[in-house]
């Protein structure tokens, strides 16, 4: 299938491209998008840009790791100022899957606090569970829509990140509890459709109650996003601590 050769811009160009003022780089969210499909990369890139994000799109998990500086060969620290605020990755990719990429990111002391979102065309509960267990922030069933991107952008807000760091430190992050996020976002329909949650594979003891959910400032804007009648299969994590 058609490929564009991987990273959308060369490393040499980076120096010129990023002669931005401090305010530019500080304010814009930088998303690393990983997808082997050229069509999907084009769409996700546009969705992110229209949502005021900076985007770096790569076609494989390996390239994503290279970009982050996490691959074995090139441990380049020169790109630390190109801070990645969010990683969004396809699940099914040849070579390294999105799940494997997720694990590598979460195993890294430097990068594990970066929220990772998984995308997949398949709404497989076991797969979703596994990703959330491994620390994925969210799981989006493709095709990705603007409302999905608006939602995941919330994961990069400062309040969320602070809460995230605390939970990671305390080790309470393994199991995501997302009821409150979802209740505050426009997702009553997806709660109804999430009855399969009962087949969750994780054991109760791995789940620790999280501290009160961080207030997400943009949650108040959530009602303005279209209700997810177009994503009824998005899985909602509800607590099962009984």
């Amino acid at each position: 299938m058609a490929r564009d050769g991987g990273v959308t811009w060369r490393r040499t160009e980076k120096i010129d491209r990023f002669n931005l003022s401090a305010t530019d780089t500080a304010e814009e969210v930088h998303v690393l998008a990983v997808d082997d499909s050229l069509v999907d990369r084009k769409v996700i890139e546009r969705l992110l840009r229209i949502s005021s994000c900076k985007v770096t799109a790569v076609d494989s998990g390996i390239r994503a790791l290279q970009f982050l500086g996490l691959d074995e060969e090139k441990n380049s620290n020169g790109f630390n100022d190109l801070k990645v605020d969010l990683i969004i990755t396809d699940y099914c990719m040849p070579g390294m899957t999105g799940y494997e990429l997720l694990k590598k990111v979460k195993e890294s002391s430097v990068f594990r606090e970066i929220p990772v979102v998984i995308m997949s065309s398949e709404n497989v509960l076991a797969r979703i569970d596994r990703c959330l267990e491994e620390g994925a922030e969210d799981f989006i069933v493709k095709p990705v829509k603007l409302s999905d991107v608006k939602r995941i952008k919330d994961y990069t807000t400062r309040e969320f990140r602070v809460g995230e760091e605390e939970r990671t430190r305390k080790g309470t992050n393994k199991r995501k509890q997302r009821d409150s996020f979802d209740l505050s976002s426009s997702s009553p329909p997806s709660i109804l459709s999430s009855s399969p949650v009962l087949s969750s594979s994780s054991s109760p003891e791995s789940q620790s109650p999280s501290p009160s959910p961080p207030s997400i400032p943009s949650a108040s804007s959530a009602p303005s996003s279209p209700s997810p009648i177009d994503s009824p299969t998005r899985r909602v994590k509800t607590t099962s601590s009984e």
Binding site: V39, V43, R46, S121, L146
Partner: protein, 154 residues
């Protein structure tokens, strides 16, 4: 034909494509991503889809032509085609791919060959229709008009 007429024709044509199931809501989403700063977004994505699909259909034909068909490989190609058709809203192609994958699982050579024909058929249909739609848009823009937003009442 004056611009207003062309615009009405485009709106009607687009609605038909939705009614007949060729396109679904995801195509609307793509249209919403197009604006003055990205006036060719839809054309670009659709072109990528055409290139991608034609290569995949070739690969599929070859894979199914082998004496010992590697159904995993066939399934992988169909999976990709299903993904990209879903991403642009080519609903009938996507549905044909779903059926195709079921038969891949069964490793049913006759059924998968029929599926390939079906997918090809749906692909060429939607290709034709998208090209017509995009041409209508182009004519409107060339005549100095703007492309009316697709409003679906359903």
């Amino acid at each position: 034909m004056e611009v207003g007429q062309m615009q009405r024709r485009l709106v009607d044509y687009t609605k038909t494509l939705f009614m007949e199931g060729f396109l679904d809501a995801q195509f609307l989403q793509l249209q919403q991503l197009q604006d003055e700063s990205n006036p060719d977004f839809v054309v670009e994505v659709v072109s990528l889809f055409f290139d991608d699909s034609e290569k995949l259909l070739n690969d599929l034909s070859m894979a199914l032509d082998q004496p010992n068909v590697d159904f995993k490989k066939v399934d992988a190609h169909v999976h990709q085609l299903k993904g990209s058709s879903s991403s642009i809203g080519a609903q009938r192609v996507k549905n044909a791919c779903i059926a195709f994958r079921n038969f891949c699982e069964e490793q049913n050579i006759d059924a998968t060959l029929r599926c390939l024909q079906q997918v090809k058929h749906e692909y060429y249909l939607v290709k034709n229709k998208l090209e017509t739609l995009l041409r209508l848009e182009q004519q409107i823009v060339a005549a100095g008009g703007s492309i009316p937003a697709t409003e679906m009442g359903f």
